[in-house]
Amino acid sequence: MLSIRGVSRSYGSSQVLHDVSFDVAAGTLVALVGRSGSGKTTLLNMVGGLDRPDAGTVLVDGADVTALDEAGRSRLRRDKVSYVFQTFGLVPVLSAAENVGIPLRMRHTPREEREKRVARLLDLVGLAGHARQRPDELSGGQQQRVAIARALASSPRLLVADEPTGQLDAETGLSVMALLRGVVESEGVTALVSTHDPVMMRLADRIVRISDGRVTHDEETAG
């Protein structure tokens, strides 16, 4: 599903990624772990086409992200890769349902169909009763659930989550991680999740550890 080959990236004199390579199989949840500044976010940006590597390639579902132009990368994010952010990234003036509906509006999905899918996704993330509430009326965990629902709205092949539990307490974070685990299984998506929480790591199918821009450890977990 995802193939990263020899990716390097530097900003000025600072080399952030050094020849990073690994693959992610479809339908798995891979935890990308490492300390702050280790290059996790940069690598995730390469995967979604938000940034370009200086060297190497990133293949998503067979498509070379690094070869895509601006429109192609936008299309990639719209159709195949969805993001979930540490800061949730919800539009504050929109309700939970409207936030979830954004990817569907991008595809000009008819209103009735959009509303049905939004309702199903909110139900999936356990927020069926919070559809009309705006982000500032929801708790952090609820906001992140809305963000996950929004990420799933476009039926992506790959879900990229950057520290999705970073701003949540342990209990909420665990529930969000469990939700991610659940949607990977129920929706059949592939997930690449960056985290440094050992508890979260246990829910992943595989852990790729990155340190100083290099993959230092890559192992499948037991569970």
Binding site: T42, N45, S74, R75, D79, T87, R150
Partner: protein, 1058 residues
């Protein structure tokens, strides 16, 4: 603390720089306004006073019945007192005009007339020599050289070289006789009276001749004069003086308020002091000054202009305050985290406010330092605009204490607005509350309602306030600002409606970009301050433009009505035949003689300063001649048609001297004195008197009218029948028949309608019967008149006949002004009698118009000169109708002034003076000043808002890009959101400005007298300027949004990468 302030300022310098810029704009506006109100007002006063007409500033002492031996001393004393009264303004110019008592006048052995001498200091200032030369200073061989007016020369048949003799006083005044029995005069020159040379104070009003001057207690005699000499020459004759007028013209080159006030104080007591000084050397004395009224009018004009400048100041201050309110919110919001940190560190609210106050004080000082020179240069630049330059108001940059004080106070007050958001505990939370309702919304609603209530009171006060008001009008200053502010608050609230609709539509849409823009526009709370600023700015700009256009149009309307036509020449005396031809050659266009004079309507003489006024002209040319606004669907041509005669008066051409034959069966010698009533090509009626002709049965060729202009036509012959010079009274008994014939050689025209009548107080006794007709005899036209008269009555009074081709109308149709109709409660069909030169003329109201041209706001009537002339002629009165010439559609306006016929006034010049005169030009200048302030503050405020909004949404933009929106799509969404709001708020502001200008604008406009303008000001919408304003605002706004959005989206991309 200072270190903290500096560091904090450094950290947010772009925002603070914007704040300083906004405060500086406000401070500059205040500074320029302050200089307009002080420096320019002073310059305007001086320039305005220096442009006044002599008649507007003269002070005249009227003295009557002065013995000759006292005259020189009386004149000197009066001059000294008057000069002293106006001396604060500088050295004045004085002019003396003195006239002798009326004396018998002997011309060519005939002493039946009376005349008088007039002495002047400088004859050339009062008359223009048209023939001969100026007289010597004193008698030459016992004969006093004099100059006579053209009208005197024509009436008395005088020319240079003619000799006349003044005899004894025709009636001794107050029992005193000067004892001078004979004063021989030699006419050296013939002259025309100059305009504005005091001829209205002449005994005969510069008419030069009057058929019936009061002599003694009951009698009348033909009067001629004045015979003009220098003042010393007059006094040297020893003649008693009937009147002396000493005229002082103050020096107005450097008039200022202090000097004018000092003069006003002295003039207030001048009359009493002159009486004390002259004692019983004069019978009566009076000091009258137009200067005081003019000064009052000038002060009123200044107050009117000041009001408009203050309106602009207020609007500018409101705009600046709105911009600063926005800036304050943005500053506070950008420092929310910092504020929270300080609070967490234990800083009290007072300490935080102190910090903010210190910062504000610093910003205010910087803004003041920038505003002082900026306003000085701004004011200097403003006074270099063409209109102000032409008005003589150009001044260099300078600094005054008042200007600095106004700026300092204004800037400090404005800067204090920055503190308002800082007083709120949590701006972000309150923004949210504002958006959803709750206490904050209620507070805002209360403020909105209070503003609307105040605005309503302001509008009501404007409606009911007196029409005339001097001094600065507080209501007129505050009302526009209040109404615009209240309207802006209301409009901002109302914009929620279309935004709500857009929100609803967006929810139903399947698309993203426009719906998301609509969501953002309708749900973002912090746009309220920016929206208020934008709506207020656009409304103020629109209001300013529309008010300026309405004001300009009102000046045009006022000028149209005040002048009444395109070009007018006001004559010092009656219009003369031939002037029309000269005028036509010089200026072209449609020309009509016009009679303008106050009349009595029945017993009604009108109120003070509003005597019933008559304007008579060629009504057939009314469409070409008359100017002034009429109700829609009405034209001056239609109005003219309503009062026009059905047919022109029949006339015959004067192609040679007429031959007059008269006979009588009386044993006594009778003679006639015929007058030809002539009409020139322009329709001017005049008379040409012929020498007396004895009724001896012999034909007499009357050559007296040979020198008349070409194309003169005879419309009537007026005949006075009297006993001959050698008539024996004893033979004047019984009745006698008189047969007259008038032969006009080679004349064209239709004589068939001519007939004879008698006029005057005949009572059927003096003239027992009269009949006449006309017939063509070969190439000539001959009129015959047969009458039977009571001969004995001729000893006491003349028999009087008129031969004419028309019958005098029973009533002269007139169009009256609305004021006339209101005062007398009259309407079409009502009949009145007006008194013109002692002749009663019946008139009938044909229509009512808002105002009669040249008589704005007055009780006035418009009549046809021909019909009026027919009535006057039929009653034997002087038929001359015209003391002015009016010209419609002139082709060469400048040509009229060079002719020296009289005072030339043009509609364009009047409009120029009204709109760009030194005392008026401040109004458009102030309104022009408002525009750049509006644009700068609106665009500045928009930039601040967009930058702040997009900064606060940088994360959101980044996330939208992560969701797959292209850079172009995100930019499009931001453009749609801010651009849509810009368009919506601009439309709201435009509507508000237009409505305010339409409702309030006309009420704000005042005439140069401080009263409501006549005609009423009508709202005028300046399409071109408004479109330009909106185009500049929208294009600049869109450019700002596009640039800022682009920058922000690129920043979002960087942020998205982490």
């Amino acid at each position: 603390m200072l270190k903290l302030l500096v560091r904090r300022a450094r950290a947010s310098w772009p925002l603070l720089a914007a704040v300083v810029a906004v405060v500086t704009i406000g401070g500059t506006l205040l500074g320029v306004s302050a200089r307009l109100l002080t420096v320019s007002a002073g310059t305007a006063l001086t320039a305005g006073m220096s442009r006044t007409e002599p008649a507007e500033v003269e002070t005249i002492a009227y003295l009557s019945d002065i013995q000759n031996e006292n005259a020189a001393r009386v004149i000197a004393d009066t001059r000294e007192l008057l000069k002293d009264a106006v001396s604060p303004l500088g050295t004045p110019v004085t002019q003396t005009r003195a006239s002798s008592t009326m004396r018998t006048l002997e011309v060519r052995g005939n002493d039946s007339a009376v005349g008088y001498l007039t002495g002047m200091d400088d004859l050339s200032r009062a008359v223009r020599l048209t023939a001969g030369e100026w007289p010597a200073a004193g008698p030459v061989n016992g004969v006093l050289p004099v100059v006579v007016l053209e009208s005197t020369a024509r009436a008395m048949r005088l020319e240079p070289g003619s000799r006349v003799r003044l005899g004894s006083q025709s009636s001794a005044r107050f029992g005193e006789d000067d004892g001078v029995e004979r004063t021989d005069l030699l006419v050296t020159g013939v002259a025309a009276p100059r305009q504005n040379a005091g001829w209205d104070r002449d005994v005969l009003g510069a008419e030069g001749f009057d058929q019936a001057v009061a002599v003694g207690y009951a009698g009348t005699a033909p009067g001629a004069g004045p015979f003009l000499v220098g003042t010393p020459a007059l006094i040297g004759t020893g003649l008693a003086l009937d009147r002396i007028q000493v005229d002082v013209q103050p020096a107005l080159d450097a008039a200022d308020a202090g000097k004018l006030d000092a003069v006003a104080t002295r003039l207030a007591t001048a009359d009493r002091r002159l009486g004390d000084r002259l004692g019983d050397r004069v019978h009566q004395q009076r000091v009258a000054s137009t200067l005081l009224g003019t000064v009052t009018r000038v002060y009123t004009q200044q107050a009117v202009t000041r009001s408009t400048v203050l309106v602009v100041m207020l609007l500018g201050t409101l705009l600046t305050a709105s911009a600063l309110l926005l800036a304050g919110r943005l500053v506070t919001r950008s420092r929310a985290a910092q504020t929270a940190l300080f609070s967490a560190m234990g800083a009290g609210r007072g300490q935080q406010l102190g910090l903010a106050a210190g910062e504000v004080a610093g910003l205010a000082l910087i803004a003041t330092a920038l505003s002082v020179p900026a306003s000085s240069f701004g004011h200097a630049a403003l006074t270099r605009l063409p209109a102000l330059r032409h008005a003589g108001l150009t001044t260099g940059p300078g600094v005054s204490g008042g200007q600095v004080l106004v700026i300092l106070i204004g800037v400090l007050a404005l800067s204090a607005v920055l503190l308002l958001p800082a007083l709120r505990s949590d701006p972000a939370a309150q923004d949210a509350a504002e958006q959803r309702g709750g206490k904050e919304l209620l507070v805002r609603s209360g403020a909105d309602l209070a503003l609307v209530a105040l605005a309503a009171v302001g509008w009501w006060q404007l409606q009911v306030q007196p029409t005339a008001q001097s001094g600065t009008d507080v209501v007129r200053i505050l009302a526009p600002g209040l109404i615009l502010l209240a309207g802006a608050a209301l409009m901002v609230r109302l914009t929620g409606l279309p935004l709500g609709l857009a929100d609803r539509a967006a929810r139903r849409s399947r698309r993203l970009v426009l719906p998301l823009a609509a969501f953002e526009a309708s749900r973002r709370p912090q746009a309220i301050a920016a929206a208020l600023l934008l709506v207020l700015a656009v409304a103020s700009g629109t209001f300013g433009l529309a008010l300026a256009a309405t004001w300009q149009q009102s000046q045009v309307d006022q000028a149209d009505l005040a002048v009444g036509t395109d070009l007018r020449v006001e004559l010092a005396g009656p219009a003369q035949a031939g002037q029309a031809g000269v005028l036509r050659e010089a200026v072209g266009g449609t020309i009509s003689p016009v009679l303008e004079q106050d009349v009595a309507v029945g017993q009604w003489l009108g109120g003070t300063g509003n005597a019933p006024h008559l304007v008579a002209l060629n009504s057939a040319d009314a469409g070409d001649l008359l100017r002034g606004r009429l109700p829609e669907g009405t034209s001056w041509a239609q109005i003219g048609a309503a009062i026009a005669p059905g047919q022109p008066a029949p006339s015959v051409a004067l192609n040679g001297p007429p031959e007059i034959t008269g006979s009588t069966d009386s044993e006594s010698v009778l003679q006639i004195t015929p007058q030809l009533v002539l009409q020139d090509a322009a329709g001017l009626r005049s008379t040409c008197g012929l020498r007396p002709i004895v009724l001896d049965g012999e034909p007499h060729r009357a050559t007296d009218c040979d020198t008349l202009p070409e194309n003169s036509r005879v419309v009537a012959v007026v005949v006075d029948l009297a006993p001959g010079p050698a008539a024996d009274a004893e033979n004047l008994i019984g009745t006698g028949s008189v047969k007259l014939s008038f032969r006009f050689p080679r004349a064209d025209g239709d004589p068939g309608r001519w007939q004879a009548s008698s006029y005057g107080r005949q009572d059927g006794t003096r003239v027992l019967s009269v009949a006449g007709d006309g017939a063509r005899e070969g190439a000539d036209i001959v009129f015959h008149l047969d009458a039977v008269v009571q001969l004995s009555d001729l000893y006491y009074a003349n028999g009087q006949f008129v031969m004419a081709g028309f019958v005098a109308p029973q009533e002269v149709p007139v169009v009256v002004s609305q004021d006339f109709a209101d005062v007398l409660g009259s309407g079409p069909g009502d009949r009145y009698s007006i008194l013109i030169n002692t002749v009663s003329v019946p008139v009938k109201v044909a229509a009512v118009v808002p105002d009669v041209p040249s008589a704005p706001g007055r009780s006035a009537m418009l009549a046809d000169a021909d019909l009026l002339g027919r009535v006057l002629t039929a009653q034997g009165a002087r038929p001359t109708v015209g003391n002015a010439w009016w010209v419609g559609h002139p082709k060469n306006v400048s040509g009229a002034g060079k002719l020296g016929l009289g005072e030339v006034t043009t509609r364009d010049a009047e409009h120029q003076e009204l709109s760009q005169g030194p005392l008026r030009v401040g109004v458009p200048a102030a309104l022009a000043m408002l525009l750049p302030a509006v644009l700068l503050l609106a665009v500045g405020g928009l930039t601040l808002h967009v930058v702040s909004d997009l900064r606060s949404r940088a994360g959101e933009v980044a996330r939208l890009r992560s969701l797959g929106l292209t850079r172009r799509t995100v930019t499009g969404m931001l453009l749609a959101q801010h651009g849509g709001l810009l368009v919506l708020l601009t439309a709201a502001g435009t509507a508000l400005g237009a409505i305010t200008a339409a409702v309030v604008g006309p009420l704000l406009i005042r005439s140069d007298l401080g009263a409501a303008p006549v005609p009423d000001a009508l709202f005028r919408w300046p399409w071109t300027h408004e479109i330009l304003l909106l185009a500049v605002l929208l294009l600049t706004g869109q450019a700002v949004i596009r640039v800022v959005s682009g920058i922000q989206v690129r920043a979002g991309d960087r942020r998205a990468r982490g």
